[in-house]
């Protein structure tokens, strides 16, 4: 009698678990499905538009025809500009945080501030960039102002990933180096940085992926609706891929006609993000195995 009751209990327990797990599995897969719907939709529509001319020609006829060459160049400039600024500073800051400063109030403050900076919405960066770089420092709407704004936005990303990379370096390496009489900086430069280098590069790639898609910070610091020529100096305005997608899909009189261009632009953006993510994951996996073998 007792056996049957327990059996029943166990069975209902099992059934509940099976139902719960099935629900969780379906919900999880539905998230993956959402991702694939977005990706396939944009790639299916975009692939019809994308060809060599699309990425190497200027826009024509009110941006309903032609290519997106200036927007690609503009985004490249902004990515390069922001990384020239954010990457060295971010890596140096992370080295200081991980290798030099001792646990204490200073570290806590820096950490908290970096977290706060990471949490600030991108449009606030846009406001800040406009009031400091564009107006106060008189850079005007320029690649310089946009790059600096984007660089500040990317800084926490670089710092965090670099810190992770440095933390992953086994302490015995440091001790061995210091034991041989090397200074702190020599240890950092000759031992810690080479080991963590691949992971630091992963952070750089992720930051590039993030920066190339940001729109709000460049709205008022650099982005131009349409420019017939390429930028020639860092004080020029520039077109940019995400802003281009925004304007041709929301404003203008011929939204319908420029839809194909919008699909193409969205696909280029997606491809950049895809490549950045694949590259970062690949690097992580490749060097992760290598370090373990050592």
């Amino acid at each position: 009698m007792i056996d049957i009751k327990e059996n029943k209990l166990a069975r209902s327990k099992q059934r509940k678990q099976a139902i719960a797990f099935a629900i969780f599995r379906v919900l999880s897969y539905s998230i993956v499905a959402i991702l694939f719907i977005i990706l396939t939709f944009i790639i299916m529509k975009g692939v019809k538009v994308i060809n060599w001319n699309f990425i190497t020609q200027m826009p024509e006829e009110g941006m309903t025809k032609g290519g997106i060459y200036p927007a690609i160049i503009g985004t490249l400039c902004l990515v390069a500009g922001s990384m020239i600024f954010a990457f060295p500073i971010g890596v140096l800051a992370a080295i200081y945080m991980n290798e030099y400063v001792k646990d204490g109030i200073a570290k806590k403050i820096i950490k908290q501030m970096t977290n706060n900076l990471a949490g600030i919405p991108s449009i606030v960066f846009g406001l800040f960039g406009m009031s400091l770089f564009v107006n106060k420092l008189h850079f005007g709407d320029s690649i310089l102002a946009g790059s600096l704004t984007l660089g500040l936005l990317a800084l926490p990303v670089v710092i965090r990933t670099t810190e992770e990379a440095l933390k992953a370096v086994d302490n015995t390496f440091r001790q061995a180096s210091l034991g041989l009489g090397a200074t702190k900086w020599q240890t950092t430069r000759r031992v810690v940085l080479p080991i963590s280098f691949p992971n630091i590069i992963t952070g750089l790639i992720l930051a590039i992926g993030r920066v190339s898609g940001e729109t709000a910070p460049i709205l008022f610091t650099v982005a131009a609706y349409f420019l017939p020529k390429l930028p020639t100096s860092i004080f020029d305005q520039a077109m940019a891929l995400p802003y281009h997608l925004y304007v041709i899909s929301t404003s203008g009189t011929n939204i319908e006609e420029s839809r194909p261009i919008a699909y193409g632009t969205a696909m280029v953006l997606i491809i950049i993000v895809l490549i950045a993510n694949l590259l970062a994951n690949g690097l992580r996996k490749y060097f992760g195995n290598k370090v373990k073998m050592n």
Partner: protein, 402 residues
């Protein structure tokens, strides 16, 4: 000598490193300074366009008027002076073009040279008049009385229900509809994203085998990496028409569309952080539960979830933060009507979308410009609050463990 150089360069490098690490702190401080310096300017400027004045008859006891009162007079919602503390007369509204009812073009003069005198006489002759005109037409011996326009107060700014920053004659700067719009859309987003995100976090940390997890993790990261403008575009071409058709609406750009897109965008944050928290549940705890005869599912909701609840709430809060600060996607799909939302099927306008849509049209240093910076301040404070509360939650967790 050599060791001196070595020591010196070590010191120099350490200084350089310290400088770099202080950049984030410096940036946060600069952001606060610039944002608040411009934003607080809203409360120091009169909400009438520079170079314009509002005048009444000398006999009118009123000395000050608020921008909301001006708007209500012009909308003819206020029709008697006693409603705003004057005499029980009706309000006679005088617009610049009305001058032709009183004087002919000849009397005014071809170059408006007599206009100041004419205006002065009109205002002097009608006791219940209110007039709005450019300062350059103010006569030297003006016989009326200029009304002081009240500056916008803190409470008016936060409780005002109308956002018309370019309205004539007086700008209306009430941010309540924008704040409510932001919260409304974000709340909808989190209601959609939380169940889905938690399910995925539980599945990835407790149920799925390692192989599936290794596939899903990068996919979730990819979801986080898609630019917001691409989400907005996707929402614009797929979700907006879908909503319009399903609910048979005149426009599909609604709060619901914004919530759906923001929900998808908040998913990676929620999943990553709560999954991390769940994976940190001590193995011994789980095994103890299983050894007592609990099923895996019972262990999950009786042990793993309660243990990691602070991490889960941190994920949820950060997800809300992401939704509140998101600009482009919301700007593209919510329709941007600055009204207090009553249903999820109506257009709404959020704070970030307002800044993005309007900053381009403002003049540098004007009232509208400053008002948008004030919105930026609000946004900054909200996200700061969110960050600090996440910090508090995770710190409390650490204390409990000891």
């Amino acid at each position: 000598m050599k060791s001196f150089y070595k020591k010196f360069s070590e010191r120099f490098i350490e200084g350089l490193l310290m400088l770099s690490s202080s950049i984030t702190t410096l940036t946060v401080i600069l952001i606060v300074v610039f944002l608040f310096k411009e934003g607080l300017g809203v409360f120091e400027q009169k909400p009438v366009e520079n170079g314009y004045i509002i005048a009444v008859n000398k006999a009118n006891p009123l000395n000050e008027i608020s921008s909301a009162q001006i708007k209500n007079i012009y909308d003819q919602k206020i029709t008697h002076w006693n409603e705003i503390g004057g005499k029980p007369d009706s309000v006679f509204l005088f617009r610049m073009e009305d001058i032709s009812n009183f004087y002919s073009e000849d009397q005014i003069g071809s170059n408006f040279e007599n206009l100041p005198a004419c205006l002065s006489r009109v205002i002097d002759s009608i006791p219940n008049i209110i007039a709005f005109f450019p300062e350059k037409y103010l006569a030297k011996d003006f016989k009326g009385k200029q009304l002081e326009v009240e500056k916008i107060t803190f409470s008016q700014f936060f409780t005002g229900k109308e956002w018309f920053p370019t309205a004539q004659p007086a700008a209306q700067l009430g941010v309540l509809p924008l704040i409510l719009g932001t919260l409304w859309v974000s709340l909808g987003a989190i209601l959609l994203a939380l169940p889905l995100g938690l399910a995925a976090a539980v599945y990835m940390s407790e149920i799925a085998d390692d192989r599936i997890r290794r596939v899903m993790k990068p996919l979730i990261e990819l979801l986080a990496g898609i630019p917001s403008v691409v989400y907005g575009f996707f929402g614009l071409v797929i979700i907006v028409p879908l909503i319009q058709k399903t609910f048979d609406l005149p426009v599909g750009e609604t709060g619901l569309a914004g919530s759906i897109i923001l929900g998808i965008m908040a998913l990676p944050t929620i999943i990553t952080i709560s999954e991390d928290a769940m994976r940190n549940t001590p193995r011994a705890m789980k095994e103890a539960s299983l050894a007592l005869g609990a099923s895996k599912w019972q262990t999950i909701y009786k042990v793993v979830v309660p243990y990691s609840i602070s991490g889960i709430s941190a994920g949820a809060i950060l997800g809300i933060g992401r939704a509140i600060g998101e600009t482009m996607a919301v700007l593209m799909v919510t329709g941007n009507a600055a009204v207090i939302p009553h249903t999820i099927l109506a257009p709404v306008r959020t704070i970030p979308a307002t800044i993005a849509a309007e900053l381009g049209e403002t003049s540098n240093g004007g009232l509208h410009y400053k008002a948008l910076f004030a919105l930026g301040c609000i946004l900054f404070l909200i996200t700061l609050f969110i960050n600090l509360s996440v910090e508090y939650i995770s710190n409390r967790k650490k204390h409990n463990q000891h």
